[in-house]
């Protein structure tokens, strides 16, 4: 962290005189590529609604953790989200309901359970607001270290599995005929989304998290011509929006997560227009 602080001190920007801004910027530089990378597969695999449901389950996990009096409820939330995603995959493989119907069932149940537990015994809901809106400025050095580890883990997973994930997402039948265990591949991916979503929820917030997981990939899809461009644009858009959003939130005094999402929405609009003009 000291090296990072030294680098920040060398940059003549007012906002970087504060330690919490230095931390937030580093967290964004780590989280943005993470979201950008995962976004490509979430969009290609049509899992946007599912990642939203995972955010809700993470909130429920945190409420359970708080109820049990655990000091770090995030880890309870990670376990709950992983169980949630595995249970969803299991039920989906044995049900004839459409995926979005099942996601609706799981998502609404998770939210209801979360609110029920959070308000049990007349408790105030206010202490959970940070998980709804998120606060990137509260991120600490050790949390950034953990995020960096997650980024490395996801990147290694991507190197090893992205070909199988892509083929499974674009044509499961073809993937299966090439000997790819499509069910297992999808399950591992959903578990990895569950972990990333849950670990990020307190900094980004439930309301905004899903836009960060969808908009970079959706924007990149507007302009990319192949898989390489798709990934490069997605990570680039996430990074640009992350840094711009943080600056905007500093100067305008608004929520960083919301500012990042709005910049991403603007990027989507521009790429959409560019796409229409270019074809």
């Amino acid at each position: 962290m000291n090296i990072w602080y030294t680098i920040c001190d060398a940059i003549p920007l007012d906002m970087l005189q504060w330690d919490f801004m230095k931390n937030a910027l580093l967290a964004i530089l780590i989280m943005s590529p993470l979201f950008g990378l995962m976004s490509t597969m979430i969009v290609t695999g049509r899992m946007s609604f599912f990642s939203d449901a995972l955010g809700h389950s993470a909130f429920t996990g945190i409420a359970i953790g708080c109820m049990c009096g655990i000091a770090a409820p995030t880890w309870v939330a990670v376990i709950f989200s992983v169980v949630f995603s595995l249970l969803f995959s299991f039920i989906r493989s044995r049900s004839n309901h459409a995926a979005d119907t099942l996601i609706g069932v799981f998502s609404s149940t998770a939210v209801a359970l979360g609110i029920f537990i959070a308000t049990l015994g007349g408790d105030s809901f206010t202490k959970y607001n940070r998980y709804l809106i998120g606060d990137i400025l509260s991120v600490t050095g050790s949390e950034i270290g953990m995020l960096a580890l997650v980024l490395v883990g996801v990147f290694v997973f991507w190197i090893l599995s992205s070909n199988r994930l892509t083929l499974t997402a674009i044509h499961p039948q073809l993937a299966s005929s090439r000997g790819i265990p499509t069910g297992l591949t999808q399950t591992i991916f959903t578990v990895s989304i569950a972990v990333v979503v849950t670990l990020s929820i307190s900094w980004v917030g439930l309301m905004i998290l899903n836009s960060l997981l969808i908009l970079p990939g959706a924007s990149a899809r507007n302009v990319a011509k192949n898989l390489r461009q798709y990934h490069v644009f997605s990570v680039l858009f996430a990074l640009v929006a992350g840094i711009t959003g943080l600056c905007l939130s500093y100067f305008l005094g608004a929520s960083a997560g919301a500012a990042i999402s709005l910049v991403l929405a603007l990027v989507f609009a521009i790429t959409f227009l560019f796409r229409k003009a270019g074809r």
Partner: protein, 250 residues
């Protein structure tokens, strides 16, 4: 119950032997007592009305569907070698918006290097060589979602030929392809099976091509109703029974 029992042999350069095979999903009997022999270099067409169990039979051979009975393979001169099956799936609908090129698709199937990092020169040459088997090298940088029905079938055919299989299985390869494209695709299949000594098993609803290209036709409707030379099957009373009374002929 079996789940892709590969092994066993039969004389007369037999590649695929299905004996007493049945498939039941829930309470529904999808296939019953299927017996089928396929020899090297043969092109067999599976025909039947919608829901007759054609795709289920192919899935059973591919090991993607549980079945009762036995399905065994043998590669002449290569005892105990695992039989390679090339598969071209039905209605391969790719989203036109997905930024996945033909080269990306091949790289995802053939390369250990992640396709999102781009193709190495060696892999690109390999993809071009695969596409040259179906005379479609020019499609390498096109997105799979924007290919025409015929182009997509040829690209998937090229993909199914890498690695070179012993049996090529095609599920409705002629659907969504115009008449000119059908002829060109069937010519290509004929050329491929002669060049590489492949056996081809395909399902189809387009019967006009069969007398010219198929060695044998098998009519199924949950069980084998009739099998033999194309003209024999197409003029049989069983064929008229299955199609003219129930409909389903294109």
């Amino acid at each position: 119950m079996n789940f892709g029992n590969h092994g066993g042999s039969c004389g007369h350069s037999c590649c695929l032997r299905i004996q007493g095979m049945s498939v039941k999903i829930g309470n529904q009997q999808i296939l019953k007592d299927i017996n089928l022999h396929m020899h090297c270099g043969e092109l067999i067409a599976l025909i039947g009305p919608n829901g007759a169990g054609k795709s289920t039979l192919l899935k059973s051979i591919l090991g993607q569907q549980e079945y009762e009975g036995s399905i065994s393979f043998a590669v002449p001169g290569q005892r105990n070698r695992k039989l390679k099956i090339g598969y071209v799936p039905q209605s391969p609908a790719f989203d036109p918006g997905d930024p996945v090129t033909v080269a990306d698709l091949f790289a995802c199937c053939m390369s250990k290097r992640p396709a999102f990092m781009g193709l190495s020169n060696k892999m690109r040459e390999q993809v071009l060589e695969c596409l040259s088997r179906v005379h479609e090298e020019a499609l390498i940088d096109k997105r799979v979602g924007v290919l025409s029905g015929g182009e997509l079938q040829r690209v998937l055919l090229a993909l199914a030929l890498e690695p070179m299989p012993n049996i090529l299985i095609l599920d409705e390869p002629l659907s969504g392809v115009d008449v000119e494209g059908m002829e060109s695709l069937m010519d290509m299949l004929d050329e491929i099976r002669r060049t590489y000594d492949l056996s081809i098993l395909m399902t189809t609803h387009d019967f006009a091509m069969l007398p010219e290209y198929a060695d044998n036709v098998v009519l199924i409707n949950h069980e084998i109703v009739c099998e033999g030379k194309p003209l024999e099957v197409l003029s049989s009373p069983q064929f008229r029974e299955v199609f003219h009374r129930k409909g389903g002929v294109r």
